[in-house]
Amino acid sequence: MRRAAVAGLVALAVAGCGGEPASAPSATSTLHATLVDRDGDGFLERGPGEPLTGPEGGRVLATFGQLTDAHVRDEESPARVPFLDRLGPPLTSTFRPQEAFSTQVLDAAVRALARERPQAVVVTGDIVDSAQENELDQALAVLRGDVVRPDTGGPGYDGVQEASNPDPFYFRPDHDAPRHPGALAAAQRRFRAAGLPVRWYPAVGNHDVLVQGEVPATDAIEDVAEGDRLVTGLDPSFQPPTLDEDEVRTLLADGELFGRAETVPADPARRHLAPADLVERLAAAAGVRPVAGRLDYTFDLGAEVRGIVLDTADRAGGSRGVVTADQLAWLRGQLAGDRWTVVFAHNPLEASDGGEAALELLDRTPQVVAVVSGHRHRNAIERRDGYWLIGTASLADFPQQARMFRLREADGGAVLETWTVDHDGLGLAGTARELAFLDAQGGRPQGLAGERSDRNVRLFVQP
């Protein structure tokens, strides 16, 4: 009996160490089944999977997962600007109907990804929504499998989605269709997260270091964030379109949010982390070593594959990524050797300042398999010379998917198998996905799930 138990533990340990995943996909893998709106009624049903096609490749070199753009948020924070959402593009991400459930969604995605048995998981940025310390506390608690305390400020929900808010531009789960009475209250309850059972590696996103992913924290913003005045709506006499992104940045930087406001309990845990503090905390949590205050580092994915993480968040402000000359030099130094290399960054390099230079560097490096990013909240795969540019959908918007990768040997090169993973949809995470799909400014109308060729494919690489 005891011998059998030991044998079982050994088997589990071997599996946990990142061997080749079982051939049968898990329930949340989209290889097996995924969620579709067959009848077009706005609600998702279980649909057929999207299995990989083409030659399978040989020996598995590495298996890893990606979580990105979780945007774990303090939805009750006075430093938020959800009222700008109604102005439409480009401000559509300031409010989401499902925003109160971000920790639950991340937890569901972690559970789903763990079932795919990756060797490691890379969290490619925007793990939090607005650089607040309490947001990072919650996100790390989810990843570590600790007790998560989503409630901030005073006990219970104090935000724009309360049923008592007369503003019809907000989705109020207690009485707007589809109704989810009690969901907001439930979202504030503490819970124990499942946690990632494997090493995870963070990348920094603009929302991790900038307020609303746009502006560096200022004293004025700090006062707003830690204060008790929650601005819930625009001045009703305000009429679009007169507001552009620059005006929003100015508005946020000045801390002079206008419009109607409610009084909410103040919470000092809402302070914004300085970028260096954030990098330090992430590095410590993941057990990696940053370079010169930026979270640039490498890690091994087994003996034959290496990961390189680039910190593309522009500390000066704005959501566009940046690759500095110093980072470029550092990257050049990391590309030596003959191991297969996967580069991870929050921002797509092709849409970052200095990113093109980095890509040209990678163009000259035959061992590069792919550049994997987030930020756009969209599944997208493009070929670039000898490697692949892979973007992955967010957990904040529909389709709320994670991504898995499996690198195999192939004749004359390697094949990178990738597939998306639906979160398990349990509890409030399921509610969040339902609302994310319905959101008229969200991932469904924007086509963020991408085409099938952006999700589940075999990608060949020949050095």
Binding site: D39, G42, S164, P166, A440, Q441, R444, P445
Partner: protein, 757 residues
């Protein structure tokens, strides 16, 4: 069995014909009620389906189509979308007719949402137009006619269309035409038509639509269900009443058929006893009875139903056309066939069941006579005897005595008498209901009280004069009524009417609750469905109202009400938190108040009163069509009444054949016989009339009101005059029945009756 049944029917030819006449009369009611009820009850759905009516119609201030479509196409559950630009108050002229209330819809591509019933749809070429069917009928327009739009543009009619998103012109004030985009190039849109994959999830789509509607002025959503309600508010209260009336008439006809068939068997119990004595089994007797009943019922019911359907088909179609709805056509055949089956089943069951029950008793017991259940309970006061009792004949008034004798004849067989009274009662109830409906329709036209407004006058008087106003004879109540044009303070482009009364506002305005409860404090508010739809309000949610003074007041929504006024964009609260508003006095009158006197008294107090408007159309043609429909059903019901009376009298005369012959042998003349029969008729007609009024008051009226009262509380109670009219009408019918039966009785030789006795 069929041969035997046919032989039996031939042997009792006149009785069989009488029974068939009864079935025919009741089936006439069934046919009319089914035709009217089915046509109207299914009219909207049928027309909406055939015209491809959108699931959601959104109206707003004109907006560029590109901007608009960017928002609309992102909505969940969306199957298709199209846009229109609606220009209102456009002068239209054609065929010598003119209106300055033209509604010109510029069709901006996509699905139409209307059905072209004649001609063709717009081809996209300039100079074409499609006119709404109501307008075409009213102005006698045909395909190929020319119409002037605005002051100079002339277009040719290429098609005539129906769209049940509103009632038809002239019931609707606007005359609608559709023109292609090139009529006014580069049009923005102010109307979006949305078709949903799952219409039952329309609220989900609307929630998202609201969330992305910032900047759209005066946004208003109407769902297909909402259109149905709006139509109901425009004219459909009448429709609901007619449908409800039809249902009640159907139930009544069923009762009458059952009672008639049952009574017929009662009359034939003796014959059944003979059959049993001859050894025929109860099952065979039952089968024979069923066959006989079916042979009578099927042709009579088919003929009655067909006649009823034909009689009201024209008015019903006209009524549907006035509502922009399509007639059922062949779809009506199925329900008519169903009612034929139902009528036959009722008649056969009502005839077979008592026959079979009776036949199971020993033949001797059957032959000994009496009804099935009450044979042993008959009173000894003559119920079981044919001889007139001396005590029953008052010496002072021979006529009254003879009538009393007739009454005793009629009531002697209790079960049959009760069946007759029930039949007459149901008929009388239906007639009373019709009369009450007629006056309700008038009140709907003239009196706002029928749809929730319980005050009839307003006067611009100081609230301090409320007590003096209440003291005016004929005034039931008076209170200050505050009105403000408020706006949702989150969407200043969402105006609504805010009405406030101190205390219980339902004393003056009580639109029916659709959800939640009545308000109980000054912090609470009741909102109309239209406002709730626009702002996503439900009981428990908050409404922030911006008052004309600029002040914002927040209320908690206590209830959502089905309000007619201001397209439902209205709310009721208490005035405690509203400042700077000047109220008028709302005045509620007593039932029989002298309105002119009250108005004079109010004028003397310093302000001429203003009447409160009615709730339905004054369109004469529409009301004329309604009257025709009601007349059709009423005629059928009257025939049933007459039949039931004749049948009751004939049976009484048949049973009391010997007694009547004895009277005649003792010197009784035609007058004597008529008095006896008149007494018998009155014994059925008078309680029947009273029962009918009671039925209307306690069953039919409330039932119709509940069926039709989706959005209004409808008082359907007859007046004293109407009750008197029903009683008088029934007595007149009783007189006619008496005359008919008396003629037949007097034709029979006295000896024949005495011989039987």
């Amino acid at each position: 069995v069929i041969a035997l049944a046919l032989a039996g029917l031939r042997a009792r030819r006149s009785r069989s014909l009488l029974a068939a006449a009864g079935v025919l009369a009741a089936s006439l009611v069934v046919g009319t009620a089914t035709t009217v009820g089915f046509g109207l009850a299914t009219g909207f759905e049928r027309s909406a389906r055939e015209a491809d009516l959108p699931d959601v119609i959104a109206r707003f201030d004109a907006e560029g189509r590109e901007t608009l479509d960017e928002r609309v196409r992102a909505l969940p559950n969306l199957a298709a979308r199209s846009y229109r630009m609606e220009h209102n108050n456009v002068p239209l002229a054609a065929n010598g007719n003119f209106t300055h209330r033209g509604a010109v819809h510029v069709v901006l591509g996509g699905r139409r949402g209307y059905l072209v019933t004649e001609g063709r749809d717009l081809s996209g070429r300039a100079g074409e137009l499609v006119v709404e069917q109501g307008l075409a009928r009213e102005w006698d327009l045909e395909v190929g006619d020319r119409m002037r739009l605005g002051h100079s543009e002339v277009a040719g009619v290429v098609g005539i269309a129906v769209s049940p998103d509103n009632v038809a012109f002239p019931l609707a004030r606007a005359a609608r035409v559709y023109v292609p985009e090139r009529f006014a190039a580069s049009e923005p849109a102010n109307l979006a038509l949305l078709w949903l994959n799952d219409p039952s999830e329309a609220d989900v789509t609307l929630t998202q639509a609201r969330a992305v509607s910032f900047g759209l002025g005066r946004l208003e959503f109407v769902t297909r269900e909402g259109v149905r309600v709006l139509l109901g508010q425009a004219a459909g209260i009448v429709i609901s009443l007619l449908v409800a009336f039809s249902l009640v008439a159907l139930a009544a006809a069923g009762t009458m058929l059952a009672a008639g068939a049952h009574a017929d068997v009662q009359r034939r119990l003796g014959a059944l006893g003979v059959q049993r004595a001859l050894g025929i089994s109860p099952a065979r007797i039952g089968a024979l009875q069923a066959t006989e009943a079916a042979l009578v019922a099927v042709p009579a019911a088919a003929l009655g139903i067909a006649l009823g359907a034909v009689a009201v088909a024209g008015p019903a179609a006209a009524l549907l056309a006035a509502l922009n709805e399509l007639p059922p056509g062949g779809a009506l055949l199925l329900p008519l066939a169903g009612t034929l089956a139902a009528v036959t089943t009722i008649v056969v069951a009502a005839a077979t069941w008592p026959a079979w029950r009776a036949a199971r008793r020993p033949p001797v017991e059957i032959l000994r006579g009496g009804t099935i259940a009450a044979a042993t309970r008959r009173s000894s006061a003559g119920a079981g005897t044919a001889r007139p009792s001396a005590a029953a004949t008052p010496r002072s008034s021979p006529g009254a005595g003879l009538a009393a004798l007739g009454a005793r004849f009629a009531t002697a067989a209790r079960a049959r008498w009760l069946a007759s009274v029930a039949t007459i009662g149901v008929c009388a109830g239906v007639v009373t209901l019709m009369l009450a409906l007629a006056s309700l329709l008038e009140r709907l036209r003239d009196d706002p009280g029928t749809v929730g407004k319980r005050y009839q006058l307003t006067a611009a008087l100081d609230p301090s004069l409320a007590d003096e106003v209440r003291a005016i004879p004929g005034v039931a109540d008076a209170a200050p009524r505050f009105v403000a044009d408020a706006a949702d303070s989150f969407r200043l482009d969402e105006p609504f009417r805010l009405v406030a009364y101190p205390g219980d506002h339902t004393r003056f305005e009580a639109p029916p609750l659709a959800a939640g409860r009545r308000l109980r404090s000054a912090d609470e508010i009741e909102v109309g469905v239209g406002l709730a739809d626009a702002l996503g309000l439900q009981p428990g949610s908050a409404l922030a109202a911006q008052l004309p003074s600029g002040e914002e007041v927040r209320f908690r929504v206590a209830g959502v009400v089905r309000a007619l006024e201001n397209s439902g964009r209205i709310a009721w609260t208490r005035p405690d938190r509203l400042t700077g508003l000047s109220p008028a006095l709302a005045v509620r009158l007593d039932g029989g108040a002298d309105r002119d006197a009250v108005e004079r008294a109010l004028e003397e107090l310093g302000a001429p009163p203003q009447p409160v408007g009615g709730a339905t159309t004054r369109n004469a043609a529409f009301l004329g069509v309604l009257a025709a429909v009601l007349r059709g059903v009423g005629l059928a019901v009257g025939l049933v009444c007459l039949y039931a009376l004749v049948q009751a009298l004939a049976m009484t005369a048949r049973e009391r054949r010997g007694a009547v012959a004895l009277l005649r042998a003792c010197g009784g003349d035609a007058h004597t016989v008529a008095c006896v029969l008149a007494g018998a008729a009155a014994a059925v007609a008078v309680p029947g009339a009273l029962l009918g009024v009671a039925l209307e008051l306690t069953v039919f009226g409330p039932l119709v009101a509940r069926l039709a009262a989706g959005f209004a509380a409808l008082p359907i109670a007859p007046t004293g005059g109407q009750v008197a009219l029903v009683v008088a009408g029934l007595l007149a019918l009783a007189g006619a029945a008496t005359a008919l039966v008396a003629r037949r009785v007097l034709r029979e030789p006295v000896v024949a009756g005495l011989r039987e006795e």
